[in-house]
């Protein structure tokens, strides 16, 4: 299955250093928080794009291979600003699994590609940007534990849900960046 990306870049057939050079240029057209998919056949690009992302400050999500083509996923400026979190009802990473198995749901509001490369088993994916249009997929009587990478997007999502009449909403902190439990993949 394909993973949703905001911008796709074709680097197939290109040798080092071209995938990196083209990725850098393509990033100019990607907005903060959006996902870039780089299609490459250069096997060195796996290690290179990961190192490049870390060096430049983007979030390398992962790579999958499809018909001999490597598909790399990078989220621009992955380090969300550590802004002030306003939603008061919060819970820690460690506490949610027990609570969620007692009838609650874990709602992962990161981008689909972030979710694909590692999420909590059983959690539901609705990216932050799609939340408002997909509220009918959620149950107002159920406890909803909202999680993202660092707690910033989930804070906004929790506020949005409360605004829309959801009363049993909890923001999970610090989020997936500090998740120590098992991860499920969907690639």
């Amino acid at each position: 299955m394909s993973i949703k990306a905001d911008v796709n870049l074709d680097c197939k057939g290109l040798a080092c250093p071209m995938p990196i050079v083209k990725t850098k240029k393509a990033m100019n057209d990607v907005e903060d928080g959006q996902i870039l998919e780089v299609q490459a056949t250069d096997k060195g690009s796996i290690a290179d794009l990961k190192a490049w992302s870390e060096s430049v400050g983007h979030q390398y999500l992962g790579t999958k291979e499809e018909d001999g083509v490597l598909l790399h996923y990078i989220r621009k400026s992955g380090d969300d600003l550590d802004s002030e979190k306003k939603f008061e009802n919060t819970i820690t990473n460690e506490e949610i699994i027990d609570r969620a198995t007692n009838g609650g749901i874990i709602l992962d509001v990161r981008e689909e590609a972030e979710y694909a490369f590692g999420h909590i088993e059983g959690s539901k994916s609705i990216p932050m940007g799609e939340l408002e249009g997909r509220l009918d997929e959620l149950d107002k009587d159920q406890e909803i534990y909202v999680i993202c990478r660092t707690g910033t997007r989930s804070d906004l999502a929790a506020q949005k849900l409360a605004e829309k009449g959801f009363t049993k909403v909890v923001n999970v902190l610090p989020g997936m960046s500090s998740w120590n439990g098992d991860l499920a993949k969907k690639i």
Binding site: P17, V21, K24, W52, S55
Partner: protein, 131 residues
Amino acid sequence: MSNKVAIIASNGGLFDAYKVFNIATAAAATEKEVAIFFTFEGLNLIHKQAMQQLPMPAGKEHFAEGFAKANVPGIPQLVEMAQEMGVKFIGCQMTMDVMGLTKEDFIDGIEVGGAVTFLEFAKDAAPTLTF
């Protein structure tokens, strides 16, 4: 952490050119400030005519096929890309004098300077590489 990469290019073959320009463009793409000091045979790499047909090491000519197959960009293309990304080229004045060359013999956009010009740039660069 230093945000500069300093490179000395002192050899004039095709393989040398790839080592220099691949590292330089990759570093520039990683948002490093890059300068290359071209000295002695390294000046070939930015000489208008010489750079078009850089020699392979003797006995290694069969690699030409490999370069084509791997779809490796040509040296002039890499040079253009490096300049576009802001890589600074410094030609060694002393070598140019010895070889009877002037700035006009080289591609546009290069600076000409002596050892101190490079050292000044390289003093807080990490890494500094020599090819």
